[in-house]
């Protein structure tokens, strides 16, 4: 399965090298690349974080809607360009404690059993991003990084959210650090339609429930100069606490808006 996906991913990259089209890809979709948000410009999504370009070298980000439940912020620092490879680093701090305590509740929305209380957790993430324009309308990006948590006390291992997307991103709150690496190609299909196809691997530094893989595909439609709708899928594979590794697919949808 993984081999098939890598082959497909490579074919998509090759197709983009052949493609030639002038589309304002970076203006519409620089998220998840080493490219910076232009100075003074901003964009945000419902799920995608708010990003603001402070200068051509520095971008800040946070998730505005989640801020009260999931306080956190990050920066993207431009490290320069070498042989047409644009390089940046990303660093972020967040505290999931209020969010975890909020969803540890009775009734609908109780993703974690109400008997669990979470003490202070600080999640620290660092990664390197490299992007290269592989065609006039396509960018290939790769990332590698690690995330670890500083905890007041170790949460109960049975209080995890054993679901794709959630589990790998929260695993380091409980035990070990998370090492992740991935690549994505994004490009434009025409003036208002864009796509992204990516792979992401998470390895958690612990003995079990430690490998996760995601393949995501997204189509984005630019409705106007400042409003975009994007939707697609995430195909996730992982080793969860109930042992049987499995594949699952999730739909994705987001509304992105920002400066013109």
């Amino acid at each position: 399965m993984i081999r098939k996906l890598i082959v497909c991913f490579t074919l998509v990259c090759c197709a983009n090298i052949l493609q030639a089209q002038d589309a304002p890809l970076l203006k519409k979709w620089s998220y998840n690349t080493a490219y910076q948000m232009p100075a003074g410009k901003w964009e945000s999504g419902i799920f995608q974080p708010f990003r603001y370009g402070i200068s051509d070298k520095l971008e800040v980000r946070t998730n505005v809607l989640m801020l009260p439940f999931f306080p956190g912020a990050g920066v993207k620092i431009a490290l320069g360009t070498k042989n047409n490879f644009v390089i940046a680093s990303e660093h972020s701090l967040s505290s999931p404690t209020p969010f975890l305590n909020f969803i540890s509740r009775k009734g609908i929305g109780g993703m974690i059993s109400p008997e669990y209380d979470f003490s202070f957790i600080l999640s620290v993430a660092n990664s390197i991003l490299v992007s290269r324009q592989i065609a006039p309308s396509a960018i290939l990006s790769a990332n590698a990084g690690f995330t670890f948590a500083l905890r007041g006390s170790k949460p109960d291992p049975q209080s995890t959210i054993d679901m794709p997307l959630f589990y790998p991103r929260m695993a380091h709150y409980y035990e070990g650090a998370s090492v992740k690496a991935g690549a994505a190609v994004k490009g434009s299909m025409c003036k208002k339609w864009f796509y992204e196809e990516g792979l992401q691997v998470f390895i958690i530094t612990r003995a079990e429930n430690n490998f996760f893989f995601e393949n995501n595909g997204t189509i984005m439609w630019a409705l106007g100069k400042s409003l975009r709708i994007k939707g697609g899928y995430v195909l996730a594979y992982g080793k969860y606490p109930y042992i049987t590794p499995k594949w699952q697919m999730w739909p994705t949808l987001d509304l992105v808006f920002g400066s013109r």
């Binding site: 399965m1 098939k4 996906l5 497909c8 074919l11 998509v12 197709a15 983009n16 052949l18 493609q19 030639a20 089209q21 540890s104 509740r105 009775k106 009734g107 609908i108 929305g109 109780g110 993703m111 974690i112 059993s113 109400p114 008997e115 669990y116 049975q158 209080s159 959210i161 054993d162 679901m163 490009g187 299909m189 025409c190 796509y195 196809e197 393949n215 595909g217 899928y233 195909l235 606490p241 109930y242 042992i243 049987t244 499995k246 594949w247 699952q248 697919m249």
Partner: protein, 372 residues
């Protein structure tokens, strides 16, 4: 080559990605077909099955997913949703010890968990199979969801089981009516009541069809009535075909003529109020059987209950199999065994002494075998 060709080529290259996606994914909650095959279990090192001479001991037991009498939010006014392995194993071991004590030849279980979050992802059926004398088991899910985002339930797979020392054939899951009193999205993630069926063949005797039901516990409309009608329809089919069946399970219903039919006060949790002016609802869901007193009459009339109704009516407390209150005695009968053949006279037993193993007492009786 033009631009359009390249654009189309991207779409065509993306298409193969969808095949593995569609091939390999499970939905968030599992829907069920009207009839499905059961999941079969077997023991690696099999035990030689007994050779009965004239009767077969059959037992039905709702084991409350092996947590014994611990307070669970869903049925015992508790706050806990999730139990640790060290909290589940003593209860599960106690269930196994009781099974080995009674030694039924055929065992029907309800509320058996398979790798559910609330029971620490233990495969309870495999544990029971490995620690008893049974060689085979058939399992069907009653409540199955990858993730339930309510009360911290998470992953859930709870179901019904038939255990036997002899091979079980033709094991199926028969879907029962969905609850009509729930919103669609809640119903999607909620348990879907069912019957598990199977057949066993003991050398020298006629093949025996087996049916194990777990009817809805909390439906406040006529869903339960539909379940009994569907159950009886399955029994009628076998009866009409001249077959002799063993049927039973947790029917979540009182025998006709029961003295007490409203258990709202017995089941009431702190902070709840029922039967008072302005209370909405007036009755606790699953605790008021008053409008349902004759719903089991057709089954009682057509088939033989291990405990005949006249015996039950003479001394009802002796046949009680359930209470929600761990500090009180059994207070109602919800668990049954039926056949269209015969039970050995005096063999039926309500195991009321098994009080701490579950919120249901098992019921056992000796089925009279029919020679080939």
């Amino acid at each position: 080559m033009n631009k359009s060709f390249y654009r189309k080529s991207i779409f065509l290259l993306l298409l193969p990605l969808l095949f593995p996606v569609l091939h390999s994914c499970e939905p968030l909650a599992t829907g069920f077909d009207d009839v499905e095959n059961a999941v079969m279990y077997s023991k690696t090192l099999k035990v030689t099955p007994p050779q009965p001479d004239s009767t077969l001991k059959v037992m039905t037991w709702n084991i409350r997913f092996g947590i014994g009498r611990q307070p669970w939010f869903g049925d015992a006014c508790g706050d806990n949703t999730v139990f640790k392995k060290e909290e589940v194993m003593p209860g599960l071991s106690a269930v196994v010890a009781r099974i080995n004590e009674v030694k039924p030849d055929i065992l029907f279980l309800q509320e058996c968990d398979i790798k559910s979050n609330r029971t620490a992802y233990i495969d309870e059926l495999q544990y029971i199979l490995d620690n008893t004398y049974f060689n085979y088991a058939a399992y069907v899910s009653e409540w199955k969801a990858e993730f339930i985002a309510s009360d911290g339930l998470g992953r859930m797979d709870m179901g019904q089981v038939i255990l036997s020392p002899w091979p079980i054939t033709d094991a199926k899951r028969i879907n029962l009516a969905l609850r009509g009193d729930q919103a669609g999205i809640i119903n999607y993630f909620y348990l879907h009541s069912c019957i598990i069926t199977g057949r066993i063949k003991i050398p020298g005797f006629k093949e025996i069809p087996l049916l194990n039901i777990h009817a809805s516990a909390f439906a406040t409309d006529d869903t339960k009535k539909k379940h009994y009608e569907e159950f009886k329809a399955e029994l009628d089919k076998l009866d009409a075909a001249g077959e002799y069946f063993i049927a039973g399970g947790d029917l979540n219903e009182l025998p006709p003529g029961s003295d007490s039919t409203d258990f709202c006060f017995e089941d009431m949790c702190p902070g709840e109020s029922f039967h008072q002016p302005g209370d909405d609802p007036q009755h606790k869901a699953g605790s008021d059987y008053s409008p349902e007193t004759d719903w089991l009459t057709p089954i009682y009339t057509a088939y033989k209950c291990a405990f005949p109704l006249n015996e039950y009516l003479l001394n009802q407390p002796a046949y009680f199999t359930h209470t929600t209150r761990p500090e009180h005695a059994w207070d109602r009968t919800l668990d049954y065994l039926f056949t269209n053949n015969r039970w050995r006279a005096g063999s039926a037993k309500t195991h009321q002494e098994f009080f701490n193993e579950s919120d249901h007492a098992p019921v056992s009786a000796d089925f009279v075998l029919i020679k080939e």
